[in-house]
């Protein structure tokens, strides 16, 4: 057989080496390219939301600058008149919007905190926000869970809906802790 780099023995040596050295794997055996944060099966173009070669997610809609008519750019006129952001004054629809569009941002945490204050709870497994349906007590309450009809926020339809659920308390996220500043 070919004894140098260029035959099967060379390939075998490389494969064996790659089992212990991740650097060798990166180039030749490669990596799962679907884990690079690009929606490779998307029917939409990727370039239009491409954030950066070093980002592991696409740009959020609010991060994509778009040329708008000059008349829309009124910030310099009204900046001194704008109220500071106070999540406690916003309705739930806006809170959910801020929560879902601010992944990995402090704003998401603040929105989650405010939703918690308003008795919504985030179900870590179902990945939905739920709250007890108004005027409907749970049908069963135990130390570790309860059952009944709950209101949840449906991200797909962007509205509240109801469903019967068994809610294990340890599946609910705690109140988010906000940094002191």
């Amino acid at each position: 057989m070919v004894q140098d780099h260029y035959g099967m023995v060379g390939l075998l040596t490389f494969i064996r080496g790659a089992e212990t050295d991740p650097n060798l794997v990166a180039l030749a055996l490669g990596s799962d390219l679907t884990t690079l944060g690009l929606h490779l099966n998307s029917p939409e173009s990727l370039y239009s939301t491409f954030s950066s070669p070093f980002a592991d997610s696409p740009s959020r809609p609010q991060d994509i600058d778009y040329p708008v008519p000059q008349e829309y750019l009124i910030h310099s006129y009204i900046r001194d008149k704008l109220a500071p952001i106070r999540l406690s004054k916003y309705n739930e629809d806006l809170l959910f919007y801020l929560y879902y569009t601010s992944g990995g941002d402090l704003l998401q945490l603040l929105a989650a905190h405010e939703l918690y204050t308003r008795d919504w709870r985030y179900h870590k497994e179902e990945k939905i926000w739920i709250t007890r349906a108004p005027n409907m007590r749970p049908t069963k309450v135990e130390t570790t869970y309860e059952e009944g009809t709950y209101c949840y926020f449906d991200l797909g339809t962007w509205r509240k809906a109801h469903r019967d659920m068994k809610v294990e308390y340890d599946r609910l996220a705690e109140r988010p802790s906000i940094p002191p500043a």
């Binding site: 057989m1 494969i15 055996l29």
Partner: protein
């Protein structure tokens, strides 16, 4: 040459005045008036008197903005506000440049505007390179990043003045980016990759510029990053910084594969020429591109008759022209041999043309090998088509073209043979005449040889391309499937298939997924 006395202070004053104008609330409402008044002021101060002064003005302004950014970034008092403060200054300077470009010459004088922009961009690149040289590891990319991104955004916004000069503007940017490419300014490499892959830049260059005029410009920029990475990738030992740049480049290629596959199709040859042979996944990514209007037949279809697919009659486009890579004398002799099969000594001398040193690992001119293989293949396809035939192991056998391939595969040592076989395998892509011919050629070389070492190396070249993570080019899959399924090749009887448990398992696993 020294700046004229007093110019520095004058520029400092004018620039500070501009930054104040830029951030005042009335700019939106009274923009045109403010701009016109400021341009008049510059003229009055003699700044716009001649090209030399204009260039000095921009250079000094850019140096001041850069200096301010460094002071801001290095001042611990600023903390999290240091970046916004840098944006504050750079955005104002960018706006000044955009205003001056817009008002340069008459409104219909596009040449004046493009010339001025070109001057500014080249001046900024010179400032960058000088800064990079001076500060070395203390160099910071932020001011230049901000400058290039913001000015690109402004010049590519819908605007009748800038719309009329859109392509020349892009050319200016491409020239500037090429000047500060990673091999010239490695401290700027990450930002550079971010700049060339910015959504506005990519869409303007690859999509919105008519007749694909932007494609050669983008091709050059990709070649720049491949050439920079190549020596580090060749060593296969990736430190984190290089790995990050490599991964970033993969992301850019994935976007191109998804949104602009035709671009990768057209330029695959030159990309594969600069990507090291051990970067198999990156190369596969490029080779697996296919035109969006094409539907690839499932390579695992039983009894797939590749020779009956209509697409294999069509020749792919290969850009840029690769024939220039073949030395004229060699090409003349090559053409002569193909035509007359004479002189016989041509084949014996061929290796000498390809070998450039005796240092192991660097013996051969791989670009020449790639060009030679592709050229001989395209000549073979034309010859077979002229005989109203379709390439197949039968029709390609005993041609002068296969003589050349068969001679090379025997005469070259293992290193040369590896490069030669890689050159053939680089043509196994989507259904087209090149894929079909080179697939037949590779299988024919496997079948016709008496040397098991040659069969082993053919298998090695195919297998290493298959064991990497996806994607895999269509032509690679159908060639390998034919090799393992077709009894002509007696594949499973070869010793190298069973040389080690890992290899055996690999073949079985690949064969399982193929079957």
């Amino acid at each position: 040459l020294e700046d004229p006395p007093g110019l520095y202070e004058k520029v400092e004053y004018l620039l500070s005045e501009w930054v104040r104008h830029f951030h005042q609330p009335g700019l939106l409402r009274d923009g045109d008036k403010i701009y016109a008044a400021y341009v008049a002021r510059l003229q009055q101060q003699g700044i716009l008197k001649n090209d030399d002064l204009i260039q000095r003005f921009f250079r000094i302004s850019m140096e001041m903005c850069v200096e301010l950014c460094y002071r801001t970034l290095n001042d611990p008092v600023n903390g999290g506000m240091s970046r916004p403060k840098c944006y504050h200054t750079m955005d104002a300077f960018v706006k000044l440049v955009v205003v001056l470009v817009r008002y340069s010459g008459e409104s219909s004088n596009t040449l004046a505007k493009v010339n001025l922009l070109n001057k500014v961009l080249l001046t900024v690149t010179q400032v960058l390179l000088a800064d990079h040289e001076k500060r070395q590891v203390e160099f910071h990319q932020l001011p230049y990043h901000r400058f290039f991104i913001m000015i690109l955004n402004d010049l590519c916004s819908p605007d009748p003045v800038f719309d009329a000069i859109n392509f020349p503007v892009l050319q200016c940017f491409c020239t500037a980016y090429h000047m500060v490419r990673p091999s010239k300014a490695p401290g700027f490499a990450y930002t550079w990759l971010e700049l060339i892959s910015h959504r506005v830049f990519v869409s303007k260059l690859l999509l919105q510029t008519p007749q694909q005029k932007g494609w050669p410009l983008f091709h050059q920029l990709l070649i720049d990053v491949f050439k920079f990475l190549s020596p580090f990738l060749r060593n296969a030992e990736l430190v984190k910084p290089t790995q990050t740049l490599y991964k970033g480049t993969l992301r850019v290629l994935l976007v191109l594969l998804h949104d602009f596959p035709e671009f990768l199709c057209d330029y695959h040859f030159s990309f594969c020429d600069v990507i090291p042979p051990n970067c198999i996944q990156m190369r596969n990514l490029i080779l697996s591109a296919f035109p969006r209007n094409m539907r690839l037949p499932d390579p695992f279809t039983p009894n797939l008759k590749v020779e009956l697919l209509p697409d294999i009659q069509n020749a792919p486009r290969i850009l840029p022209a690769y024939i220039q890579l073949i030395i004229p004398d060699l090409k003349k002799n090559l053409d002569n041999y193909i035509k007359t099969r004479a002189p016989v000594t041509f084949l014996q001398e061929l290796r000498g043309h390809l070998q450039i040193s005796s240092e192991p690992g660097k013996q051969y001119n791989s670009s020449l090998i790639n060009a030679l293989v592709l050229y001989v293949g395209t000549q073979a396809i034309a010859f077979i088509h002229s005989k109203s035939g379709t390439p197949s192991p039968t029709t390609i056998a005993h041609t002068a073209h296969m003589d050349i391939f068969q001679h090379l595969v025997v005469d070259l040592d293992t290193e040369g043979r590896y490069l030669f076989l890689n050159a053939i395998a680089n043509q196994l892509r989507y259904p087209n005449s090149h894929t079909h011919f080179f697939s037949c050629a590779l299988l024919s070389l496997f079948a016709e040889t008496n040397h098991e070492a040659i069969q082993e190396q053919i298998t090695r070249v195919l297998l290493e391309r298959l064991i990497v993570n996806r994607p895999h080019p269509w032509g690679l899959l159908i060639t390998f499937i034919d090799l393992i399924k077709n009894p002509t090749y007696n594949f499973w009887k070869h010793d190298f298939v069973h040389c080690a448990p890992e290899i055996e398992r690999l073949f079985e696993s690949v064969a399982k997924s193929c079957m």
